[in-house]
Every structure is written in structure tokens, then in C-alpha cells.
């Protein structure tokens, strides 16, 4: 395997890690107005992701940095092309991050209400827009011979991509509800569990539709050997199984299976792309690939050493942080946020 492919996989891993971790963060943010009946409950919900949201978000920032280092043309074409979408995502991440820190600093219900709303909107926008953007990489966007994007925001908001956006929103809501049922206790956990069970069927249906749309609106049907279709199929099956675990009252197992679904969906997307990184809808020749979009062999080698040295350390201390804060939170727990 060459370094270009290795870095393509690494970026896939970064996105998968990001959606797995920040996915439940976003879910918690979106569930806030629905599960947070009173201020104390809302604080408990926010505090479940309190120690982690920032570290989780760094997965996205690192994915962005890795794109820049390993595939500068991918980075340049995607971020300049999907400009308005990324402006909205950035604004969402800004208000969301500040909301965590500022929200409970003052007692005023109006102050807290505003930041709660920002947490909700700031979680919803990336849940919707990031899957839309990523699916468009595979579906194809107008990229000319000079690797410049020729479309607009409307180009991105096509029906298949919006189905993927909806799958993102529902998927993260579901993921977040299960996370909450694991991380809270008492009445809050029970409510989160009920919500997760209600979300299961619609999420499954939308993921199924998104998978079908994904196959029909892209060229994977022509490119993939039959065996590869097992991966999206397994993603749907895993989501189905998570419903069974919830029914049996085992949110831990459900969390693992939903996490598996997220990893498999991201894998499907990246397998559909490879060796391309952005498909051109104007001319297949103009698609960016892991070879035409990449940095030099020397830079890829340097970056490989750096990643090899640092990624295991990062994984270790992030895992440790989840271990430190493994306790369930209840209304009586001391809260920082």
C-alpha cells in the first residue's frame, strides 16, 4: 500500500472517529430542548459531554489539518468550493463551543435560554451539513480541469445529499439518546432510553433509504465488487440490532452497535470514493484522486512518522479521560457547566 492510500485511510479514520465521538455530542445538543424539562436536567445533559466535547471536536480540526498536509488540492477545492456551507458549519461550531462554557456562568434564565438555543442550533447545523458535504464528494460536484469548484450552495443541496443529511441528524440524535441513557441515572436515563427507542425505527428507515439512494445516485454500483456491498448492509443490520439491545434494556451494547454503524457508513463512503477524493460531475477525468490531490512523497513520509508517533498517545489520553469520567450523572451530581 502506498502512502497516498495510507493517508486516505487515515483521513477516513479521523472522520469516522469524529462522527463516532462528536456524533453523540451533537445528539445531546439537539436533544437538549426535548429532554431538558428544567434547568437542572438541562445542566445534567450538558455535563455528560462537558469534559469531552472539545477533545471530540479536535478530531474534525485534525481531519482538516491532515487534509491540508496530505491532500492540499482536496483541502483547497473542498473548502473554497463548499464555502457557504462551511461558513455556516464554522459559525455553528463557534456559538456551540462558547455556549458550553458561558451558559451556566450566570443564573439568568434568559441568558441560559439563549445559549441553550445556540447549543441546539450549533449541534443541528453540522449534523445536517457535514454529511451533506461528504456525500457530495462521492455523488460528484462540478469541478473543472483546474480543480476549481463551479457550483453553488444549491448544487450541494440536492435530494440524495439531503437524505444523507437527514440520516446524519437522526443518527446523531439516536446515538446521543443512547449515550445519555448510559451516562445519566434515574429519571433522566429512563427518559433518554425511551427517546432512543422511539428514534430507532425512523433512524433505521432513513439509513436504509440513504443507503439505497447512495447506491443509485453514485457510481458505486459499477465500481464495487459485490462483496463490498456487505459493508453498507452490515451498517444497516447493526443499526437494526441496536434496537434489539435497547429493547432488552442494554444501552451499552446498543451504543457499541450504533458506533459500529457510524464507522461502517463512513467506511462505505470512503470505499466508494477511492481512489478519488472528490468526484467531478463534469468530467470523470477531472476528479481529484489520492494521487493528483496529494502532497509530495517526502511530505507524506514526514507526516506518517509524525502521525505514527502522536496518534497512539492521543488515543491513550482521550480514552483515559473517558475512564476518569465514567460515572453516571444524576440531578444531585456536582456540575461544572
Amino acid at each position: 500500500m502506498d502512502l497516498n492510500t495510507l493517508w486516505f485511510i487515515l483521513i477516513g479514520v479521523l472522520f469516522a472517529g469524529f462522527f463516532f465521538l462528536e456524533g453523540f455530542d451533537y445528539g445531546v445538543g439537539m436533544l437538549l430542548p426535548f429532554l431538558g424539562k428544567d434547568d437542572r436536567t438541562r445542566r445534567v445533559l450538558i455535563n455528560t459531554v462537558g469534559p469531552h466535547w472539545d477533545g471530540n471536536e479536535v478530531w474534525l480540526i485534525t481531519a482538516g489539518g491532515a487534509l491540508f498536509a496530505a491532500f492540499p488540492h482536496w483541502y483547497a477545492t473542498m473548502f473554497s468550493g463548499f464555502y457557504v456551507a462551511f461558513v455556516l458549519v464554522l459559525l455553528a461550531l463557534i456559538v456551540r463551543g462558547v455556549a458550553f462554557e458561558f451558559r451556566s456562568k450566570l443564573e439568568s434564565p434568559r441568558w441560559r435560554g439563549v445559549w441553550d438555543w445556540m447549543l441546539f442550533a450549533g449541534s443541528l447545523a453540522p449534523s445536517l451539513l457535514l454529511p451533506v458535504a461528504l456525500f457530495n464528494l462521492l455523488r460528484g460536484v462540478p469541478i473543472d480541469a483546474k480543480m476549481t469548484y463551479q457550483g453553488s450552495l444549491i448544487t450541494l443541496l440536492n435530494l440524495p445529499a439531503l437524505v444523507w443529511g437527514l440520516a446524519g441528524v437522526l443518527g446523531f440524535l439516536f446515538h446521543g439518546a443512547i449515550f445519555l441513557s448510559l451516562k445519566t441515572g434515574g429519571e433522566i436515563a429512563a427518559q433518554a432510553h425511551t427517546t432512543a427507542r422511539k428514534l430507532w425505527a425512523p433512524t433505521l428507515v432513513v439509513l436504509l433509504v440513504a443507503s439505497i439512494v447512495g447506491v443509485l445516485s453514485t457510481d458505486v454500483a459499477m465500481r464495487w465488487p459485490v462483496a463490498l456491498f456487505l459493508i453498507p448492509l452490515l451498517a444497516v443490520v447493526a443499526l437494526g440490532v441496536s434496537g434489539l439491545w435497547l429493547h432488552k434494556g442494554r444501552p451499552g451494547a446498543a451504543f457499541v452497535t450504533v458506533g459500529t454503524t457510524i464507522l461502517l457508513v463512513v467506511s462505505s463512503l470512503f470505499l466508494g470514493l477511492y481512489p478519488r477524493v472528490m468526484v467531478s460531475s463534469l468530467n470523470p477525468e477531472w476528479s481529484l484522486t489520492v494521487y493528483t490531490a496529494s502532497s509530495s512523497a517526502y511530505t507524506l513520509r514526514i507526516m506518517s512518522y509524525i502521525a505514527l508517533a502522536l496518534v497512539p498517545v492521543v488515543l491513550l489520553y482521550q480514552a483515559w479521560s473517558y475512564w476518569v469520567f465514567r460515572q453516571r450523572l444524576v440531578r444531585e451530581s456536582p456540575l461544572e457547566y
Partner: protein, 458 residues
Amino acid sequence: MDAITLARLQFGITTVYHFFFVPLTLGLPILVAIMETIYVRTGNEVYKRMTKFWGKLLLINFALGVVTGIVLEFQFGMNWSEYARFMGDIFGVPLATEALSSFFLESTFLGIWIFGWNRLPKALHAATMWLVALGSNLSGLWILIANSFMQQPVGYAIVGGRAQLTDFGALITNPNIITQYPHVITSGVVTAAFFIMGISAYHLLRQSYDQEAFWRSFRIAAVAAIIGSILVILVGHAQTQHIAQSQPMKMAALEALVQSEDPASFSLFSIVQQDGSEVSELVAIRIPAVLSFLTYNRFSGEVRGIRDIQAEYTTRFGPDDYVPPVMLIYFTFRIMVGAGFLLALLALIAVILVWRGSVERAPFFLKVLIPAIGLPYIANTAGWLLTEMGRQPWIVYGLQKTKDAISPAVTPGMLVFSLLLFTLVYGGLMIADIYLLARFAKQGTTEQEQAEQTALAY
């Protein structure tokens, strides 16, 4: 306005805004970590109250620093795609390394620090703040390695119209970083020290409850302020000497030196008129030979003027306007240096008062320290403006011009849209941030503890 102006305006606003929060994020974790370490060592509760008080202010500041940093990470691709294509092979390396080595470190351990007060052993909890300090200062190192390449390209070759990295070792030991990094780090320490001194002064003046906490904070900060402000000047001086070699046009502009001189004179006050690349002196009060001394440590030696360098660059790079906005650079430099010396003077007085044990008997000085919180911010902003504006018209010195770096896919309309949104949101957040900072800063340590207690009870 055309796309290039809009894109530059947006970069300027988002970067200056981001850097409004960064210096405190560099310096304050170190001072908070020192306080918590003393607490762990001595068990003295006053240091715990100090740690929590300054820690809370750090967090309010940190949140905005982090989220505005995300914008910068993506902005190179969004607004400057041709720069990203030309430079990605090199610039992406420190940027990705920054994320991997520093962002993960600071954000993960800050989370652990905030929530870990009752879950971790004391020493381990203090260690997490040291890791936050390490993370933010490492992050500064990597981003300045990236910026240093833009000031002084090293370890590269131009292959197929793109800059390619050929020597990673040269990239991370760029001569520019050797002075730029310590200058930024020490200015972070100065910013944090004056932040602590100013707020402590407020409480010492008001005779707030818990005088001991603020008195001890003041003492620690005064020591940090004097060390930091002397270092920042010494390193800054070395940095300017380096710029004279690596970016002669920036040097000529910050001294408003129109004609080459040997020995070169230092400008006390200058007004130059600039019309494109045509530059002429209107007012010039200069001291002979002093600029040569500042540049070479001796009273002779040529410092080249704007006209000669413009002529040289025209031959080297083709006809264009190679003169950055002279007056802006000239005055931002003097604002930065003036603020720096004033800070050193204030730090000196503070240390002498602490030494003599007569801080409480100098209410006027304490009153002065409160607005002085803003001085480092002025110096920091002025410093970055002159660093980045002084490099113009280049985005990468001698390799790529700013006007060639912009995204062709982004229209002026889109830029106006994003510029308006960012400015609006940033403005709102700044108000909320300053409001919170002021409120918690005024509240003091014990009231804050009480507020937490009531919050827990209900």
C-alpha cells in the same frame, strides 16, 4: 470592494480577533499551574482559591480562543485556495502537527481539569494544568513555524509551480522562528501577568474579602511581569535585527527609511507620502547612525532604503509595487515598542513595591494598573499587524503574492456574506465575553465560591 480586499479584511478581522484571546491562553495556564503546584506542595488553601479564581477567568477566555482558531484552520482553504495549493506541501505539515500534538492535548486536559477537581489526586490535577500550558505553548510553536515559512521560506524547492518540502529539519529550525517564538511566548506571559496584576490591584484597592489571595497573586504576577517584559524587549530587538537581514523591505518600512544610508539614521518622527511604489519623505526627524547601531551593534553599516529595495525587487521579480503600507507599519511598530517599554517600566515599579512591601501604600499606582491590562493587547495586535502587513505584497516572501493566493471559486458576494456574519457573531461574543470576564473578575474569590455552593444546592 474587490475580492482580494474583502478576503484580506476577513483574514485580518478573524486573525486579530483570534489573537485577542491567544496570548492570555499562552501565559495564564503557566501562572495558574504555578499557583496550583504551590497549593499541592504547601496545602495552603489560599492557593486553591487563587487557582480556581484565575482558572475560571482562563476558561471564559479559552472558549473563544479555541472556537475562533477553528476558523483559521479552515480559512486557508476557504479564502486562499491557491495559496493552499501552492503551499500545502509545506504549510499543512506544521498545521496538522499542531492539531495532533497540541489541540488534542490542551482540549482534552482542560476538560479533565475543569471536571476533575474531586476525581483526581491533587498532584495529578495540577499536572493536567501543566499539560494544558504545554499544549497551548506547543500549539504556538507549530503555528509560528508555519508563519515563519511565510516570512522566510526555507527547506523547499519549487517543483511544477508548487513549493515542495525538501528539508523538514530546516522548516522547524527556521532562523525566523528562533526569535519569533520566544517573542510571542514572552508577550503571552506579560499579557497574563498584567491581567492578574490589574485585577488584583482592583481588589487590593477595594479592600475586597480575601486580600491575601490577591496580594499573593499580585506578587507572583509582578515577578512574571518583570521577567517577561525584559525578555520580550531583548528578544524583540534580536528579532528586528533578524528582519533587517531576512526582510529588508519590512525593516525599511518600519523605520520609514526612504533612501539607503550608511551609517543609517533612526527616525524619531517621520511622515512619508506613498503613491503606489513612489515614496517620498514629508517630515523626517532622525538621529544619525543610531539605526546602524540598533541593526549591527556598531555605528556604521548600511541599512537599505525603500527605493533601492523596490528597484532591486523590480529587477528580481518583475515590475510591481513591492512597498507595503509604510505609515501603518511605521506607527504600529512604534506603538508596539512604546507599549512594551511602558509595560517594562510598570513591571519594574511593581517589583520594587513588592520588594519593599509597600504595594498597599501606592494606591495611585494600583489604579494605573487596572487600565494597563489593555496595554499588552495593544502591543500584541500592533505587532501582528506589522508582521503581516510588512510582508505585503507577498503572502510567502519572495515566492507568492497575496493577490495570486485567493480562491477563484469564492465570489465577492460570498465574501461579504461571510464577513458580515463573522463580524456580527464575533462582535456579540466579544460583548458577552467581556461582560462575563468583568463580572467574575470583580466578584472575587469567596463570592465566587459561594455562588458555586448555591448553584450546587439547587
